[in-house]
Symmetry: C2
Subunit: 311 residues, 2 copies
Amino acid sequence: MKKDIIESYNRISPYIHKTPVITSTTINKITGGSLYFKCENFQKMGAFKMRGATNAILQLSSEQKQKGVVTHSSGNFAQALALAAKNLGVKSYIVMPSNAPDVKKSAVRGYGGEITECEPTLEARESTAKKIQLEKGATFVHPFNDFNVILGNASAGKELLEKHSDLDFIISPVGGGGLISGIALSALAFSNNCKVIGAEPFAVDDAYRSIESGKIEHNLTIDTIADGLKTSLGDITYNIINNHVEKIIRTTEEEIIAAMKLIWERMKIIIEPSSAVALAAILNSKTEFKNKKVGVILSGGNVDFKNLPFS
Amino acid sequence: MKKDIIESYNRISPYIHKTPVITSTTINKITGGSLYFKCENFQKMGAFKMRGATNAILQLSSEQKQKGVVTHSSGNFAQALALAAKNLGVKSYIVMPSNAPDVKKSAVRGYGGEITECEPTLEARESTAKKIQLEKGATFVHPFNDFNVILGNASAGKELLEKHSDLDFIISPVGGGGLISGIALSALAFSNNCKVIGAEPFAVDDAYRSIESGKIEHNLTIDTIADGLKTSLGDITYNIINNHVEKIIRTTEEEIIAAMKLIWERMKIIIEPSSAVALAAILNSKTEFKNKKVGVILSGGNVDFKNLPFS
């Protein structure tokens, strides 16, 4: 595993940013812990997803690369795959629900992705992607339930642990589980017993419930400001999380907004609500992290400035 | 001069952040130049003013320190002096106009500053500060027209030029002129002919007009989003700017907002409108900076998130 992560890291490193790790005296005072923020909001296209997308494409054969890649996504992975493909001279087909925001469609187009719109249901997304696979011979890349994507994401954990090998914990948001799976594998490979904890909104606590019940659970509603965390786990991410993630801490919407505001105001960096969930979890479980060294994955920084939650 | 700047730097460095210098491939592509952003938005209390305030207090005698410092300001300098004084165990008296935003008053109080409110006129501010000087024996520290404040600010230029000694230009916003004066002195001391250029909104172009007319000009209106740049020059800053600043580039309000949005969206960092004026100037004078190495001073990051200019 360690070898796989190192090889993935070497493979993608010409195409990604080695993002900084920053600290905040003020936030350390407030939490009582020593927090090390891994800034994937500064990653290319504004999110960690660039890592996994790049690794997945680089693992294709020349013949596969010639025929292109396809995915379905309404969020950051659509942009990540389009940009990673462009950087590698590969054609990308992106299936997006017809109700996806124009700004996201323009971003995908700006990166050279060819968009096919479909009805906003998972079934329509999957069948449209399947059709493109068959017609174009393009290779499907899943946004998170793909081992090469997870290995690419693991490079963020590797970079963090190389700088701070003595972390007691790393906290990562959980959506489909692709990020935290990579972080958990990197903690196994590069740390001395650093525990990985997930952070999830109560409103979409499928990962928490999946670990409780012992099988993949789904979200009945998706009413959260953390729009990157609405997805349920896949079988690969479920297994990694179930085996290697210590636990999941849940947060309220108010806690997410307060944590986001704290980071914007005090650290002067832009993170998206999904990233704030990790700090929100630390703040609602302070005693657990008191005097501990805690890595915090800031997963992305793509925000609609017209729709900020601060009142 | 070089010796003075080095001594000021050594004096204040335990109390300030050595802020990072960052770059953006996207913004370099857009401008055609190589831009090096000096991130004073990450400075303590969110602005470069921490440097000058700290240096001014550290230059006082023990007796002066015991009696405290006083200033009048409705903006970042009020907070900077209060925090710098607190860090050095010195009492601070801050005269603020009664119409200053509550959030700024709370920040000053949070740093231990004793606020005296007065009518929102320059005359009332000056006479109230004078009264405190007489009653308390406190030393008045001017927000910008003070050589020790300017020397403290110069440390930002020193840090930038130590990392990038081959800059062709440094662009800095101009308000009262305390920042750009420090930058100009540091360019004289630490660069090989790096030219310093000011950036100023058309709406408050007193520095531009002062250089044109050969005397200190004032602003008749102060209708700009760049609220840190409304002040006119003082005699000390006017003289330094007149002798050592290449020129002033003026920008429209639309250009300021567009530049601010570009930095927020692409660099994922929070800067205040006054900081965006520097990039706005580069964008409206692109040919001048094409293929040049340009330092850009991001002066601060204190923003009211409830009142963003993005539409």
